[in-house]
């Protein structure tokens, strides 16, 4: 047998356990599959219809992907707070296992859920006329960029779950912050018409830039019926998207791990 670092081995055991939980809990599976389908159809037809038809719809898809995986970070919040509340985390903490495994196992299994969401959304998108026009390497890179972003957002979710005093607080906090963050972006509309502070935020918002990066890599229109983006992040969408995800991970992994060490059962 090859030597697997204990932290990775323990994380994979925890991820296995999480996935079994998700598989056997229909509510979860529903949020992971039906919600993305709803997002694609709602946004594509409600917004797409009034804002420019087929081309706009194609433009929208990448934004919906990014928004959906961002919202999937709330699964991390809920999963972790449930485990804390039910004493499962206590059982883990009294075991001689790696300290990061509970968190890394959770963010890994949530990455798998996001992957499922992305596959479903892609199929759904293809059905309504979205096409992947980039070359295969770029398309693959696009999906990897998206999953990296999903993983980064999941660590933010882990941190929110660990700092919340109650499960209820965690659940609403885990969702609430996502609304301003995903909507103050140019995922759906141009940031250029927003007031200056919002415009600056939207331009540098990783959500905006991840969507831009996906469009670039998928060969989808970057802007439809809007002025072309001219900010630095927009012009360096792929590296900025990857860089911002790495920064989020670099910040929230140590924060969450430090917090996890101190958190007592609630």
């Amino acid at each position: 047998m090859t030597v697997v670092p204990p932290s990775l081995r323990d994380s994979s055991v925890v991820a296995w356990r999480n996935l079994l939980n998700i598989k056997r809990n229909p509510d979860w599976l529903l949020s992971g599959t039906v919600q993305p389908i709803m997002f694609v159809l709602l946004f594509a037809f409600v917004f797409g219809g009034s804002l420019g038809g087929g081309r706009y719809r194609e433009f929208l898809i990448a934004g919906i992907f990014v928004q959906t995986v961002a919202f999937n970070s709330s699964f991390t919040v809920i999963g972790l707070t449930n485990d804390l509340q039910k004493g499962i985390v206590d059982r883990f903490r009294a075991l001689p296992m790696s300290r990061v495994a509970v968190l890394l196992g959770r963010t890994s299994s949530d990455l798998a859920v996001s992957l499922l969401s992305v596959v479903i959304m892609s199929l759904c998108g293809l059905l309504i006329g979205w096409r992947l026009r980039g070359d295969p390497t770029d398309v693959l890179t696009g999906y990897l960029v998206l999953l990296l972003f999903s993983f980064a957002m999941s660590w933010v979710g882990a941190f929110i779950g660990l700092i919340s005093r109650t499960v209820e607080v965690a659940q609403s906090a885990g969702l609430l912050w996502l609304f301003p963050v995903t909507f103050i972006s140019s995922v759906f509309v141009s940031a250029e018409s927003m007031p200056t502070p919002l415009r600056v935020f939207a331009r540098w918002n990783p959500i905006t830039v991840n969507a831009d990066a996906l469009r670039e890599l998928f060969g989808n229109p970057i802007r439809v019926g809007m002025p072309p983006p001219s900010s630095w992040p927009a012009e360096h969408a792929v590296p900025y998207a990857v860089g911002s995800s790495l920064v989020i991970i670099a910040v929230f992994v140590p924060l969450s791990v430090a917090r996890y060490r101190r958190v007592a059962s609630r």
């Binding site: 356990r17 056997r24 039910k86 004493g87 206590d90 059982r91 009294a94 075991l95 001689p96 296992m97």
Partner: protein
């Protein structure tokens, strides 16, 4: 040959806000023995267990388990312990087998070993049949057993069981007692918390009685019993109206304030002269025209000890006869608390 100390807690203090959950708790257990932490709800038992299992840091004091300091070598402590917490931490969406397999893997066992051990434990805990069913459908007793099995997966030298029988029916409790006895036969050191006096009496080699975050007494079951002094005279009178007179008569014979249980018309008093006191009591009661039943002497139970030590009855009573009892004397309580400080 004296065996080494497997569990020790020294002057543990833990505050939750302004609430002092532990106020200088001290106890120890030698290898292969059962230490019982006995105390009512809110005494601090769970807090002590959480500190010993590295889940909580004490504000002051120190503790070690299997020779490892809980603060400086928490990982080594975790390798040496198995924990079954007060509330069964069973993963409801996994089967019993998957629960135990997961714990085995997290103790570092390889896949085949973890699988084999899970099977052994399921059989040993009468969960063989239910082993492949999702734990959500398990009864309270089955969950408790599964949680207990989880503590034993890695055959740790020290096992901590926080109220392992609370919420179990009498049969479940007897089964658990048998399992704990088997553990001890294998040389495992067990720390067990309980609110049940009979449980501590039946299982523990040494008992630390905890109340309000302090150890108020510490010793073997027999030592605790002898704390309460001599034998007890117990009797039942015919009519409730005779209780007051009977209590007065017994006060003149016994060495403490008689305890009166109005409901069962039962009176109890500590006596120093055994059968002589008994005969004297029956004679004097007869003189007062009181008819007595069920008169007898018995050695003090742990229940009696607890009452004397804490000044109040426990929630769960061993002999069902301690409702509506009189307060023991304050002086005696203080003296016994003093005894508890040593050892």
């Amino acid at each position: 040959m004296t065996s080494a100390t497997a569990i020790s807690a020294e002057s543990l203090v833990k505050n939750f806000g302004t609430n002092r959950a532990l106020d200088g708790v001290e106890f120890s257990a030698r290898e292969g023995r059962v230490l019982g932490l006995l105390g009512p709800n809110g005494a601090g038992k769970t807090t002590a267990v959480r500190i010993l299992t590295t889940l909580l840091r004490p504000d002051a004091g120190s503790a070690s388990v299997a020779g490892h300091d809980v603060l400086t070598e928490p990982h080594a402590v975790r390798r040496s312990i198995g924990l079954s917490g007060q509330y069964a931490a069973v993963d409801e969406n996994l089967t019993g087998r998957e629960n135990l397999y997961m714990v085995g893997r997290l103790y570092g066992m390889n896949r085949p070993d973890a699988r084999r051990r899970a099977g052994e434990l399921l059989d040993g805990f009468q969960l063989g049949e239910a082993g492949d069913r999702i734990a959500k459908g398990y009864s309270g007793g089955m969950r408790r057993r599964l949680d207990l099995a989880g503590a034993l997966v890695a055959r740790p030298p020290v096992v901590m069981l926080d109220e392992p029988t609370t919420g179990l029916d009498p049969r479940g409790r007897m089964d658990t007692w048998r399992l704990i006895a088997e553990l001890v036969d294998d040389g495992t050191t067990v720390l067990l918390t309980t609110q049940y006096l009979e449980e501590a009496d039946a299982l523990a080699d040494t008992i630390a009685v905890i109340d309000h975050g302090r150890v108020i007494a510490n010793g073997t079951s027999n030592e605790l019993k002898s704390l309460v002094g001599g034998e007890r005279l117990e009797l039942v009178v015919d009519e409730a109206t005779e209780l007051d007179t009977a209590a007065e008569v017994l006060a003149g014979i016994g060495s403490d304030t008689p305890r009166v249980d109005a409901q069962s018309r039962r009176l109890q008093v500590v006596v120093n002269d055994g059968s002589k006191s008994l005969i004297e009591a029956v004679r004097r009661l007869g003189d007062s025209g009181i008819e007595v039943h069920d008169v007898g002497l018995h050695r003090p139970t742990l229940d009696d000890a607890f009452l004397s030590l804490t000044g109040k009855p426990t929630e769960v009573s061993g002999n069902g006869g301690t409702t509506d009892v009189a307060e023991p004397e304050g002086a005696a309580t203080a003296e016994r608390a003093e005894w508890g400080g040593r050892q």
